[in-house]
Every structure is written in C-alpha cells, then in structure tokens.
C-alpha cells in the first residue's frame, strides 16, 4: 500500500464576482505515491500544480475526491506533511536555528533535543556558521536551505515543495538540487516537488508527472530509472537527454494549448 494516495482530487474555485464563471483549477486527479518516491510535477503555468500540492498539505480543501495518508483521509494541515514555498516564508524575527526549531517547539520537544536536531540539519544544509543569523541577512539560497531544514527537522512523512528554487539563480539552483537529492538519497523521504524546470524535474525524480494545460489533469507519469547517487554529471548523459527531449515535447504541446486558451478566453 502506498503512504500517500490522491483519489479523484479536483478543485473548482467559485467566481470572484457574482455572475462570473467558476474556475476549474484542477480536474479530478489520481496519484498513488509509494514510500520514498521522489515525484516531480511539471506543467504549464496555471494548470493547478500549486492547488494540488496545497490540497495535499491540507491548506486547501478539494471540491471532489480525497487525499489519504496511510489510509486516513487528510482533514487539514499537519506536521506529517512538511511544505517549502517558493516565496520566502521564514519567520523574520527568528534566527536560522529558531526557524529550524519552530515545529519542534510547537510539538513541545525538550530544548536539548531541539538543539541536537537543529545542529544536525544546520550541518546538513551547510548553515552551521549562520545559526544565529536573522533571515534578512541571508542570501536567497540560504533562506531556502533554512526553509528546507525547517521542514525536514519535523521529520514529515511527506515533503511538499512548490517551486522551492524558482527564485534562485541558475548556479545556486543547481547546488540546491544536489543538496536536496543528497538528503533524499541518504535519509529517504517521500517527496512531491513542483517545478517549471524540465532538467530539474528529471535530475531529482524517480517519477516525473506531467500535467495538461488548465484545467489540469495528469497527462503522463514517466519513471526515471537513472541510478543513484546522482551527481550533476548525469545531466550530460544520453539517457538524460532522451528524457529531456520527450518531456520538452510533452510540455510544449501543453504550453501552446494553454496559450491558445488564454487568447480565446
């Protein structure tokens, strides 16, 4: 049995003005996520990727269908599903370490254990020297590493990432991908990762899910069987190039459709 199961989850937003039309953000979608899957979700802008992730996180309610965690329906947000957002969401009044400890504090974990866990994750994301810094002094990459450590420190069953590296420059982004993959390879975790970046999607995933233009549904689900541990070098292999060619084609078709819909709307 899979740990996370998305069953017929759809989302329709009511019209913003009276008399307007409903927005179908997500068509009923099924996705079975096995333990320790690393699934990346690709799709054109506005196809409902964030909506799907937010529903899994419990931050939004589906209009139809349900999300099951270990067989239990998800009601609201909880520490078993950690999330990292694209926009920086660190608590600015807390140091890096206090940010990482936030979930542990809410859980009522004793101080010494908090310190131990935060030490481990500070080390893991390479921010040991910055433990006492406030977010405003950090670079974009450091902020997202802190956000990642904060989510991981809670030891969630599922890690949800919504374009977490979207605002970073290309080089930082590549380093962050390796960092995240390294953590996944050694610590094992179930991950749902939304991205626009095809290379990023292939590099990280063992499954790439492609969504159609809005209203989104899953178009294809492609296994990526390249061996682990992976380094940036896999990006130059033939296998990687083949995946990239295929996914580029899939996304292109959807982007053209999304564009055409935007014009006709």
């Amino acid at each position: 049995m899979s740990s996370l199961s998305i069953e017929g989850v759809g989302r329709v937003f009511p019209p913003a003005r009276r008399g307007g039309a409903d927005t179908v953000a997500l068509q009923p979608t099924d996705l079975q996520v096995a333990d320790n899957d690393f699934i990346t979700i690709l799709g054109p802008s506005g196809c409902g990727k964030s909506t799907l992730l937010r529903i899994v996180a419990g931050l939004d309610q589906p209009s139809s269908g349900r999300v099951l965690m270990d067989g239990q329906p998800v009601g609201g947000p909880g520490p078993d599903r950690g999330m990292v957002f694209q926009s920086y969401s660190l608590f600015p009044w807390m140091t890096v370490r206090d940010n990482i400890c936030f979930g542990l504090r809410e859980k009522g974990l004793p101080k010494p254990q908090q310190k131990e866990i935060s030490d481990y994750f500070l080390e893991r994301v390479g921010l040991r020297q910055f433990a006492d810094h406030f977010p405003k002094t950090l670079s974009g990459g450091m902020k997202q590493r802190t956000a990642l450590a904060r989510a991981l420190a809670n030891d969630p069953k599922v890690l949800l990432l919504d374009e977490p590296f979207g605002a970073l420059d290309h080089q930082t982004r590549a380093l962050m991908q390796e960092l995240l993959l390294g953590i996944w390879e050694s610590d094992q975790k179930t991950v749902l990762f939304v991205t626009h970046d095809i290379e990023e999607a292939i590099f990280l995933a063992n499954r790439v899910v492609v969504m159609t233009a809005r209203p989104g549904r899953i178009k294809c689900d492609i296994p990526i069987d390249m061996p682990h541990p992976r380094t940036y070098k896999v990006k130059t292999t033939q296998e990687f190039a083949d995946h990239k060619a295929r996914l580029t084609e899939e996304i292109r078709v959807e982007t053209i459709r999304a564009d055409a819909m935007a014009v006709s709307a």
Binding site: G58, G76, P77, G78, F85, Y88, W93, G103, L160
Partner: protein, 261 residues
C-alpha cells in the same frame, strides 16, 4: 538646479541636517521680523526674545516643570490604558474574523466621535479630576489603535501562517507565535503615531477644568494676555513630542532589529 530636484535622489546626511535646521531658522527669522518691525503688536504675538524670557520665568518662578510633569503623566497614563485595552482587542479582531465582524462597525463609528466633544459629558460623569483627563485621551486613542492593530494583524503574510500550520502549529500557536511577532513592529509604529495624537487631546482636556498642566498654563496666560508664555507652552509641547517620537523610534529599532528596513 536640476541636481537638487531629481526625483527620489537621496541627499547626504550632512545636507539633510543643514536643511532641517534651516527650516527652523527661516521660521524664527520671519517671526522675529514681523514682531521686531512692529508689524504685529506684542499684545498679539510676543517676539522670540520675549518668548524665551517668558519661558525662563515659567520654569524658575512659576514651577512650570511641575505642569510639564503633570501633562506628561496624563498623556502616558491615558495612552497606556488605551494600549492595554486596544492592542489585545485589535489582535483578536485581526486574527478572528467573527470578532472583527462584531466589533468593526461599532469601533469604526466610535472612531469618528471627536474625543474633545466628550469633555462636557466626561466632566459630568467623572468630575474635573484626573479620571476625566485620562478618559479624554483614552477615548481619543483607543479606537484608533484598535482598528489599526486589527488591520496590521489581519494583513499577516499568508505564507507565514501557512508555513506554521504545516509545521504542526495549532490556532493558538499561530496567533501567539506567528501573527503577534510578525505584527509587532508595525503595532509599535502605530503606537508611536497615536502617542503624537494623544498630545493634542490632553491639551484640549486641560483647557477646561484643570488646575495644573501645560494646557492649564496656556489658558492661565491668556487671562494676562501673556502671549510669550502661551507660545512658549506650545513650543514645549512640540519639543516633548519630538523627543518622545525619537525615543520611540530608537526603541523600535532596538527591539525589532530583525525587521528588514
């Protein structure tokens, strides 16, 4: 000239200070000119020299320091009571939409009731003692603080709240440990603003039925047509306002150094 009037172009701090002082100098010079030339009679407007002299007399002969202390005490007292009531209520309104729905129309209405118009009523209810003075400031400040705090807290970035929920926080934790600290710098900024307004209310309160305070001194001076004392009193209020504003700003900077500028 275009060098001076390029939009948004920053000025050096030295030039900023010079220009700021120059503003005062120009006004005092104009003041001096219209009084010294006899354009305005001393009966209506004392000159800068006479005003300073009157100030000296106030402090050293009439115990003006006591008046200043009384007025500062009233402002702080009324302001602190208003803060103690309005900040928690404002936070509750900002965080809980049902609380907001209940209080918001009521307080929006009350906000437009001029505090000074309550003075006759308050004298009836509370006499002319300290309770009445504090009440005027309280009424003048409490609704404003409440509404502004509610808006600030209600405007907490959704990502912070959502991040907290996905980290396992419950409603109570989200309000106390996310919304409250996130709003704190702006709440303090609001308090700084309202403290400035409280100064205007206290003087109005002291113009009626007071036996001490800066406002009382000004009314008292009016009886003797001592425009020097009156102007000096107004001047002192300005100086105290400036100083308290400065102290508040420093406190904010110290407390909330984490906030991005």
């Amino acid at each position: 000239m275009s060098k001076w009037f390029t939009p948004l172009k920053p000025v050096s701090s030295g030039r900023r200070i010079t220009l700021g002082i120059l503003g005062f100098v120009v006004v005092v010079a104009l003041w001096w000119a219209v009084t010294a030339s006899g354009l305005v009679k001393p009966l209506f407007l004392a000159g800068p020299g006479a005003t300073l002299l009157a100030g000296y007399g106030l402090f050293f002969e009439f115990g003006f320091l006591g008046d200043v202390a009384v007025t500062v005490g009233r402002v702080l007292g009324g302001f602190l009571i208003a803060t103690a009531v309005a900040v928690p209520l404002g936070i509750a309104m900002g965080a809980f939409k049902s609380v907001e729905a209940f209080f918001e129309p009521l307080i929006s209405f009350a906000r437009y009731l001029p505090a000074s118009a309550f003075i006759p009523l308050l004298i009836l209810w509370a006499g002319v003692g300290e309770a009445q003075k504090l009440s005027v400031i309280f009424i003048g400040a409490v609704f404003q603080i409440c509404l502004m705090v509610a808006v600030i807290v209600g405007g907490t970035r959704a990502e912070l709240v959502e991040a907290a929920y996905t980290l396992g926080a419950r409603n109570r934790g989200v309000v106390l440990r996310v919304m409250l600290p996130a709003a704190a710098p702006q709440i303090f900024e609001t308090l700084r603003l309202v403290l400035g307004w409280a100064w205007t209310y206290v003087i109005v309160a002291e113009l009626i039925g007071a036996s001490a305070g800066i406002g009382f001194m000004i009314i008292d001076a009016q009886r003797f047509l001592d425009t020097g004392q009156m102007i000096f009193g107004i001047f002192v209020i300005g100086v105290i306002g400036l100083v308290s504003d400065y102290l508040f700003k420093q406190l904010n900077r110290h407390l909330f150094s984490w906030a991005a500028s």
